[in-house]
């Protein structure tokens, strides 16, 4: 029973027959192909689907299309104009680009539409107005302060008619002509106009829609699987089960332990295990078919946590038992260490499971090609790994599969594992038609790997003067049903578990355990987020026990050049920890000379404020002996532009800008003439996984060295042609100067081709060799360091905690792009704040409680404190222009800085996350 409605979208009038249960979001995206409006949750929670209906911001995902009758709708596509063939951005769009508010870009249409309505109502919005208006418009990249500044600047530009100004962000102290100076992202314009395409925005002729039957129980044996009824449903094109897997039955990133589909007689290990997959003519039919599939299970005892999994009588989840890995760190002698200590302290901490909650849910789209190959369109952090795994499951040689990486609406470590890639490819293979497999938020929350819940016992022994002599830690990490990157993550948690301190005697043991919870894998911070919380809490307890200033305690024990890490690595350069500590300390004491003393707010004595401090370090790169390589392919085109290619992934963090800047720097050219192509296994060389904060280092270096190689090739070609010494050839101002001639890059391309040379260079960069844990050598080629201070306000009556300020200093080697770094720092701090205060992925007996975004709260602009970023630059010799990893270190100290501040304010030690305001209130009430 369709009805016809009339409405205008972006000034254009439409008259359309709609089905009764269509939403406005579907109408816009699927029928009008206005894919700038995104869908992140379909729960009215995230705001990415916001459009204006008669000028009012409205979430189109829950707005019935029928109601749009007679309405005037404005979407992100309707803001920019074209004048004389040139795109003219709306000041809001312009400001978001110039200020660097655009990271992954997925939330940006919603942010801009909501702020558009705000500025219409309040031409001069205050910070409070903005926070009120954007409260429910989430950004997981969380550059909230920058979003706020962009809006204020856009409003100013609109009021005055002046152009949008660029923000003033200081250059790197190591700035060169391009490197170290703020650059806007090459993809930010398309992200603010809604033109940017993410996987779900793609459609292909004849495309089918897929849906997955999940186990829905945490542990059991599949005893019955009947697809007859589902198969009979009209519109179903294919239903596949474990028997239909042409190749290998298991996938995995390191260990192949994760079944593509669980077959009859096989074990279900978590609620998200896939049992059968359906492709159908529509999403609705696919979902109906999934509901018609009949299953029976023989249920088994559920393993709920890592400690239970370690018990000898626990049921065995995998052939080798429940222990994924026992990870050990040994340095010195614990007996000697603790015997010579004046004080010994010990405490156990517990961290929760958290979800990446990237705003773009997973989507894979497989397209079979006529030549027998298969293309998979997907936003993936490791395109080459996807290729391997899809090919393995199909039983094909890898070259038959092409992964065409798409823009990612956030990853944060959560898009490294296989989600729908294999399933969509299998369905496309049997049907011969393109198949799209899109997760909704519910499925995304149930299925993809999380952050490891970890129990951490820390024992510290110290001298009276504060020198730490011995540190012993014991960790139980819950890696869930499958390994994913669990071993690597827990190794990082373990090696970093005694903090960034120079300690003679260290022992750490970690038991990474399989359980029946959703798998745990990579998540920004890679295990160090958890162990930093434990050890940094203990540092404050130690300071208090010894009557020392907590900052002084850290300074005294801090790693420095010449220190040997817990794993036996001599730090030869680039250890900016003390400078980070000093800078945050002095900034903090400038604001408050007695930062750690509780201070009631005058007039509201029940509100008590205090500061807390924490420091951290985090490796850059894979380390531990894994070869860490990345390739970059650079080509000069006839029109004088460059293209640099690598399969490294851009998830919003800004790698593409780094690649572009490195090439521009080496060519002395403008960054705008360098295009970047990433994430395509046919067209780009392997960039390795985008994990462990490694890409600026390895792919940054690969791009730089590809440029150096091409520059040398150009130089030697021109030196031959013009018969001048190579030293006489100079690259400057976007040209090459030879013998008084000035050649443009187009000239150069022509000349080289005339000489029979291809102006192209491929560079395979190999990072310095590392050694496996336990061998005592260099486990990592670089470390980043950080210190943060947090000012909190605790309501002593209700237990509520508010973070007022964060001071964050990060030693990043060299700030290659200060603008992007600002976004990384803000986003990292906010993610740390979420980890501490708002986020709690709850699993009860293997069943996921937080299975909707409504139940899993990530920080919004309303939680955002004042964030001050202090950049410390201790270049590392091998890094590109001295740079090292940024992505993770920015997030790690936030949680303990906040919990230490809570302790200082109200004398309550938070030892399990997230902070529970009820516990604080009840504890205070009982005193």
């Amino acid at each position: 029973m369709d009805t016809t409605i009339t409405f205008t979208v972006n000034g254009k009038s439409h008259n359309l027959a709609i089905s009764p249960d269509e939403t406005l979001a579907d109408l816009l995206r699927k029928r009008l192909k206005l894919t700038g409006t995104k869908i992140g949750c379909e729960e009215a929670e995230c705001g990415v689907c916001t459009v204006l209906v008669d000028g009012e911001p409205t979430m189109s995902c829950v707005y019935p299309a029928a109601r749009a009758d007679g309405k005037d709708i404005l979407t992100i596509e309707g803001l920019a104009n074209t004048r004389d063939g040139q795109l003219v951005l709306h000041p809001l769009q312009d400001a978001f680009v110039k200020h660097g508010a655009v990271q992954c870009g997925f939330c940006i249409p919603g942010q801009i539409m909501t702020s558009y309505a705000l500025i219409k109502r309040h031409p001069e919005p205050t910070s409070d107005d903005i926070r009120h208006a954007l409260k429910d418009t989430l950004c997981r990249c969380a550059g909230y302060p920058t979003i706020e500044n962009s809006i204020i600047e856009a409003a100013r530009a609109l009021r005055t008619g002046e152009p949008v100004r660029v923000p003033s962000i200081p250059d790197s102290v190591n700035a060169r002509s391009v490197i170290g100076k703020s650059q806007v992202r090459p993809d930010s314009v398309e992200k603010v106009t809604g033109a940017a395409i993410y996987t779900d925005d793609l459609t292909f002729p004849g495309m089918l829609f897929a849906s997955v039957r999940r186990a829905g129980i945490p542990h059991g044996i599949l005893t019955k699987l009947d697809i007859t009824k589902a198969k009979a449903l009209p519109g179903v094109a294919a239903i596949l089960t474990s028997e239909d897997i042409p190749g290998e039955h298991n996938h995995g990133l390191v260990i192949y332990d994760w079944p593509v589909l669980v077959g009859i007689g096989e074990r279900v290990r978590y609620v998200g295990d896939a049992i059968a997959i359906v492709a159908a003519e529509s999403q609705e039919i696919a979902e109906q078919a999934v509901a018609l599939i009949e299953t029976e299970f023989e249920k088994q005892t559920v393993i709920k946590n890592a400690v239970q999994a370690y018990q000898p009588d626990a049921p065995k989840l995998h052939a080798n038992g429940n222990l994924l890995k026992h990870i050990k760190v040994r340095k010195g002698s614990m007996e000697t260490g603790f015997a010579s200590a004046d004080v010994v302290l010990e405490h156990t901490f517990q961290t929760q499971i958290t979800d990446h909650a990237f705003l773009e849910p997973e989507c894979s789209l497989a397209v079979p090609l006529e030549d027998g190959r298969m293309e998979v369109y997907v936003g993936s952090q490791i395109p080459y790994q996807d290729r391997t795994q899809v090919a393995r499951a199909l039983g094909w040689p890898e070259e038959r599969v092409r992964i065409v990486g798409q823009l990612m609406g956030g990853g944060f470590g959560g898009k490294e594992d296989i989600m729908g890639q294999i399933h969509s490819a299998m369905l496309a293979n049997v049907t011969g038609r393109p198949v799209k497999l899109l997760f909704d938020r519910h499925e995304s929350l149930l299925v993809h790997p999380k952050r490891h819940a970890t129990q951490i016992r820390v024992k510290l022994g110290a001298k009276k003067d504060g020198r730490i002599i011995a540190a012993e830690t014991e960790l139980y990490g819950d890696t869930g049903a499958y390994a994913s990157l669990g071993e690597k993550v827990m190794t990082r948690a373990t090696t970093h578990s005694a903090g960034p301190y120079d300690i003679e005697h260290v022992r750490a043991d970690c038991y990474a355990m399989y359980t029946n919870n959703p798998p745990a894998g990579a998540f920004r911070g890679f295990g160090v987020t958890q162990s930093a919380f434990a050890v940094e809490s203990m540092m404050d307890t130690l300071a208090q026990t010894l009557g020392l200033d907590p900052v002084e305690l850290r300074r005294m024990n801090a790693l420095h050049v010449g220190s040997v890490t817990n794993t036996g690595q001599l730090l030869r350069d680039s250890v900016g920890l003390v400078e980070c500590i000093d800078k945050v300390d002095s900034a903090m004491r400038k604001l408050n000379p007695e930062p750690f003393k509780p201070q009631p707010v005058p007039g509201s004595e029940h509100l008590v404020r205090a500061w807390g401090f924490a420091s951290a370090y985090k490796n850059t790169g894979l380390g531990g002996g894994a070869p860490d390589t990345s390739g970059a392919d650079l080509e000069l085109y006839d029109d004088g532009t460059f293209e640099v290619r690598s399969s490294a992934a851009e998830l919003g963090q800004g790698l593409v800008t780094v690649m572009r800047m490195a090439v521009a720097e080496e060519m002395s050219a403008a960054p705008e003439i360098v295009r970047v192509l990433v994430m395509d296994t046919d067209l780009t060389p392997n960039g390795g996984p985008t994990t462990a904060s490694r890409q600026t280092y390895v792919t940054g270096n690969a791009s730089r060295l590809a440029a150096v190689t091409l520059r040398q090739a150009i130089t030697s070609a021109l030196s031959e042609k013009y018969d001048v010494a190579p030293e006489k050839i100079c690259f400057e101002g976007g040209q090459v100067h030879v013998n008084g001639h000035s050649l443009t890059f187009a000239d150069v391309a022509r000349e080289m081709k005339a000489m029979g040379q291809n102006p192209r260079a491929l560079y395979e960069y190999e990072a310095p060799k590392t050694q496996p844990l336990g061998t005592g050598g260099d486990m990592h080629f670089a470390f980043s360091f950080a210190a943060q201070a947090a000012e909190v306000e605790v309501n002593t009556l209700t237990g509520e905690v508010r973070v007022l300020r964060i001071l964050a200093a990060n030693d990043v080697g060299t700030a290659i792009n200060p603008l992007a770094l600002q976004g990384q720092v803000e986003g990292g701090v906010m993610m740390g704040l979420g980890n501490c205060l708002t986020e709690n992925f709850i699993v009860e007996d293997g069943y996921v409680v937080t299975d909707r975004l409504a139940r899993y709260r990530i920080p919004s602009i309303a939680h955002t404190p004042e964030i001050t970023s202090i950049i410390v630059e201790h270049p590392t010799a091998e890094g590109p222009y001295g740079a090292k990893g940024v992505g993770e270190i920015v997030s790690i100290p936030t949680t303990p800085a906040i919990t230490n501040a809570i302790y200082n304010a109200v004398n309550i030690r938070v030892d399990s996350l997230p902070v529970d305001q009820e516990k604080i209130a009840m504890e205070l009430a009982s005193r």
Partner: protein, 302 residues
């Protein structure tokens, strides 16, 4: 999905009632849909045949003074109420509640009728209306009737509305000089964005209302009448009638407040909501919440 087969947008209340009662299958009215659409999508509500959208009915979108009372149409968007000067003047508790519900996008479509009809014991709009002594006008097959708000609720998520019933709007007494209301709530940063406890107070002051009063609980002057609502204080939105009776015609003093709190704790039945708040925590919070909300209403009533 096919969660419903028919979507109707009537233009009069009578048509809405007819549409609801004449549908060939289960029929449901929707306001903004911010509760019910999600329930349908997520399978918490069984699929229905017909959706009757109430937001196109002009009568239900009116906010005005009518017959010496404030009338708020059940289809008025929450954001509209939050910004409306008449609501701010006569029903501050409601304005405050509406300003806290959801975010701006939710408030732009969510309606007061939906907030009340959903019958949750701690819906912000409902709790504020409870202290304002609101009366609902309900249209049904047998015509229109007025119902005091508490009569609308049978249990958590269960209203007394029958098939074909539509809440047309709410009538609120106009606050006179010396009368005022306030609403406050306490959230928790994790989990669903609903309050763990909320509370509204309406009161009238007696005595000399012109002299300034330092401190939160000045002595001397009296509370003439008072109404207090707390969510979630039971299976339905809770009016603290014993506490009200105690405080009526009493001085606004710390001693009376302490005694009133004891009565409140006696008459209210807090429950523990897993992962949200224990009953003990709610008992702990309600004192602070009552003190602050009472003080806000008291100051306003000058």
């Amino acid at each position: 999905m096919n969660l419903w087969q028919q979507y109707i947008r009537p233009e009069t209340v009578a048509d809405a009632v007819t549409a609801l009662t004449s549908a060939p299958g289960p029929a449901l009215p929707i306001g903004g849909g911010t509760d019910i659409m999600l329930d349908l999508h997520q399978g918490r509500h069984s699929p229905v045949h017909t959706i009757v959208d109430l937001t196109g009915i002009p009568e239900m979108k009116i906010l005005e003074i009518r017959d010496g009372r404030l009338f708020i149409g059940a289809g008025v968007a929450i954001s509209h109420i939050a910004l409306h000067p008449l609501a701010a003047l006569y029903a501050r508790a409601l304005t405050e509640a509406c300003d806290l519900i959801g975010g701006p996008q939710v408030r732009n479509v969510a309606t007061l009728g939906g907030n009340v009809a959903h019958a949750l014991p701690a819906a912000d709009g409902t709790i504020s209306l409870m202290c304002l002594d609101a009366e609902a006008e309900v249209a049904g097959v047998a015509g229109r009737r007025r119902m005091p708000l508490p009569e609308l609720f049978l249990g958590p998520g269960k209203s007394a509305l029958k098939l074909g019933d539509v809440i047309v709007g709410f009538y609120l007494p106009l606050a006179k000089p010396g009368e005022a209301s306030a609403f406050k709530r306490i959230m928790r940063p994790q989990g669903v964005a609903l309050p763990i406890i909320n509370l509204s107070v309406w009161l009238s002051r007696s005595g000399d209302t012109s002299s300034p009063h330092p401190g939160p609980l000045p002595q001397g002057e009296g509370i003439k009448q008072i109404r207090i609502a707390v969510g979630p204080g039971g299976s339905v939105p809770f009016r603290a009638r014993n506490t009200e009776a105690f405080l009526a015609a009493k001085a606004y003093s710390p001693e009376n407040f302490t005694a009133a709190l004891d009565i409140l704790l006696e008459e209210i039945k807090f429950r523990t909501s897993a992962q949200r708040a224990t009953a003990e925590y709610r008992r702990h919070l309600v004192g602070t919440l009552l003190r602050n909300t009472l003080a806000a209403a008291w100051e306003r009533a000058e």
